[in-house]
Symmetry: C2
Subunit: 407 residues, 2 copies
């Protein structure tokens, strides 16, 4: 054989960690890297006790065998209650499928629905894994971009045109995916926009997927609507998990909700249980911990309020300093913990966002992610989670770096 | 669209849990099911303290952020030390890739290497996921059967013939996979057989994969050889993890070792890191726990000795009772915790192993797995982990069931 690797495997990879080798090398040479590349709140905000304590209890009680493949019933019910309480919608426990992180859910869904040559609608910029999972399964993207100049909102007319064009080419569109709040832009879609997206998907009979992993990390003034609140009887899936809003990235717990009674929803739900069974179960004690934490609304709401207000201050600090940088143009994020500046490459002696990110790491020891990895060239992503002084130091270095590379 | 599901998804599923719906229904109706279908030691033997305590410590120390995608260096090193200590071989920490259970490793490897229309050599009976993962990626099996009449050993001449035949058809054979100790047969390959398999693979330039997850669960008299001890400079991967020998199934921790310096090994290792990065990391506190436990040879060797001797007694009990059943023919297992009887369908009023397993559950409330799910029709798999009295009761019911269905 010429190569051991499959053709599909070339689509597997992530821009978020592609500088990891260089960063480890620089570390070994005594450099201290400021890592602003991974959206990992638990690296900065200690995971709160109300989810750690039940985890420890589950371990002490030796809840350490395989659990139920699709999730323990306690966790399915706790998720169901959350959606009732928070969004006023009814979801059966059976309609919740627990996964080893949201990444596993994305991988299962793409494997379960995409045939080679079929399409999915992705908005650019997208989270890196979406395109990788789609293409790995032979799928092709129809891109419908977020409008940077209008705070990264969705132009619904442009979306409709893209669908019409794809249909003219007899493309089979398997799903339309949104990330709301968005990674990497850190912006929330308005309720009206969501309603229009749902209407368009409905009219065209397209399965809707909404990744809402940052649904509780929304800053003052902005307001979040879940797809589950506007989807009217149409088939859809909502993705969420423990990683971000429960500050527990290392637990690896995600979930998929598919509430529909239509044929597509029923089939997909059943098939995702098959996928779950093949890999046996998610981490068992973590499932018990998450079930308890989801029901501890009092402690959770204290913790999340505290974390969000701190994140908002970090974002403010960074934004204030970035505003003074004439080489970057940045839409103010109102959610999550990402900042996604546009690089004025016309004013710099740098070729593209890849060179920007690599040289920023080599010269200033600040690790970020190139925007082209999210389908948005000439941008780069900053994770705004590090303490104020570290973030200040990082942005100072970014500003110095731009100055040094001015044409 | 006619169906939301992809064509590949029809290969996703596992015989081991296909009766789960029926079992849950019977439970709801007040029946007590004896579940002998999941190979889950932690459901019967409490996970030992030497791996629980460091897990709790990691949680208390808030080691709960994403970890390093391919595994924390401490765990990579602990695995490397285990192979030096146990098998006398040198494996760099970098050659170890940590996965969320061995199931994830199987899924990654098949995705990384198999193109549609390419082949892999599997021995029948195989663990259910192998064929599922191969076919899901468009791959096709070349079967080379274990010889039931010779204690499920390998006929190396037959293997060579199968390879020759496949090559004549210009088939591209991507890997040859063995499970040793075997699931579902519970038998170990001799060192001589392993050496011959390695020789054949080498001669034909075929990548070798050995799933050795049961490597420490071997009964008195039998002896286990790791592929790593006989592979002479040829590209290979060994799969293992915490689930069985560390009695920690619910932690979801597996690992792949690929020690080769050849091009194929280097490429595959690198690509598996890409796969790992896309899903961010395995469960972080569990990784710290496993790293500590792997180095605690004193406590581990006590615990595993104790567990293996208990499992051997359960197997003995079951075998003694099965020997009296004229409708079953059972090769005595010498490892793992599976018993895989052949069903004398010629003497029973049952059509096949599927009907046998379903009716056994419906009529006697004993849940087992049909052999056809492992590529061996007319067999069924019993998990020998339940306490002596439960196992006795289960085998009594199995024997009664056969008597009731005698022609």
């Amino acid at each position: 054989m010429t190569t051991i690797l499959s053709r599909r495997s070339k689509f597997v990879g992530t821009a978020i960690q592609e500088e990891e080798g260089l960063a480890e090398e620089l570390s070994r040479n005594g450099k201290t890297i400021i890592k602003l590349n991974r959206g990992d709140p638990a690296a900065y905000f200690p995971t709160p006790s109300y989810i750690i304590e039940p985890y420890i209890k589950a371990l002490q009680a030796r809840k350490t065998s395989y659990s139920r493949a699709q999730g323990i019933p306690e966790l399915q019910m706790a998720v169901s209650e959350r959606y009732k309480r928070r969004y006023g919608i009814n979801v059966n426990g059976d309609n919740v499928i627990v996964t080893s992180g949201l990444a596993e859910a994305i991988s299962f869904i793409n494997g379960a629905v995409v045939n080679a040559g079929e399409y999915a609608i992705l908005f650019r910029p997208y989270y890196v894994q979406y395109l990788s999972a789609l293409k790995t399964n032979g799928g092709l993207p129809v891109f419908a971009d977020y409008q940077e100049k209008a705070n990264w909102s969705v132009d619904v007319d442009a979306l409709e045109k893209a669908i019409k064009l794809a249909k003219k080419r007899h493309a089979c569109i398997k799903y339309l995916l949104i990330t709301n709040p968005n990674n990497p832009t850190g912006t929330v879609l308005s309720r009206k926009t969501l309603e229009e997206i749902a209407r368009v998907a409905n009219k065209n009979n397209i399965f809707l997927i909404s990744d809402e992993i940052y649904d509780e990390i929304v800053f003052g003034g902005a307001s979040f609507t879940s797809l589950s609140q506007v989807a009217g009887g149409q088939p859809y899936a909502v993705l969420n998990g423990a990683s971000k809003t429960f500050d527990a990235t290392g637990f690896r717990l995600g979930y998929v909700i598919i509430p529909g009674r239509d044929r597509g929803s029923v089939d997909l739900r059943k098939k995702l249980v098959d996928y779950a069974r093949v890999r046996l179960s998610a981490n068992t004690p973590a499932e018990y911990a998450f079930a308890v934490a989801l029901r501890n609304e009092r402690e959770h709401s204290k913790a999340i309020k505290n974390m969000v207000s701190k994140i908002e201050r970090i974002v403010d600090t960074a934004m204030k300093m970035l505003a003074k940088n004439p080489y970057l143009e940045t839409v103010r994020p109102n959610s999550a913990f990402y900042i996604f500046p546009r690089i004025r490459l016309d004013l710099l002696d740098l070729r593209d966002d890849s060179e920007f990110v690599e040289k920023l790491l080599r010269e200033k020891y600040v690790q970020t992610t190139r925007g082209s990895g999210f389908g948005a060239p000439s941008h780069f992503r900053i994770v705004a989670l590090a303490p104020k002084d570290v973030t200040e130091e990082a942005i100072r270095r970014i500003n110095d770096f731009c100055d040094a590379h001015a044409k």
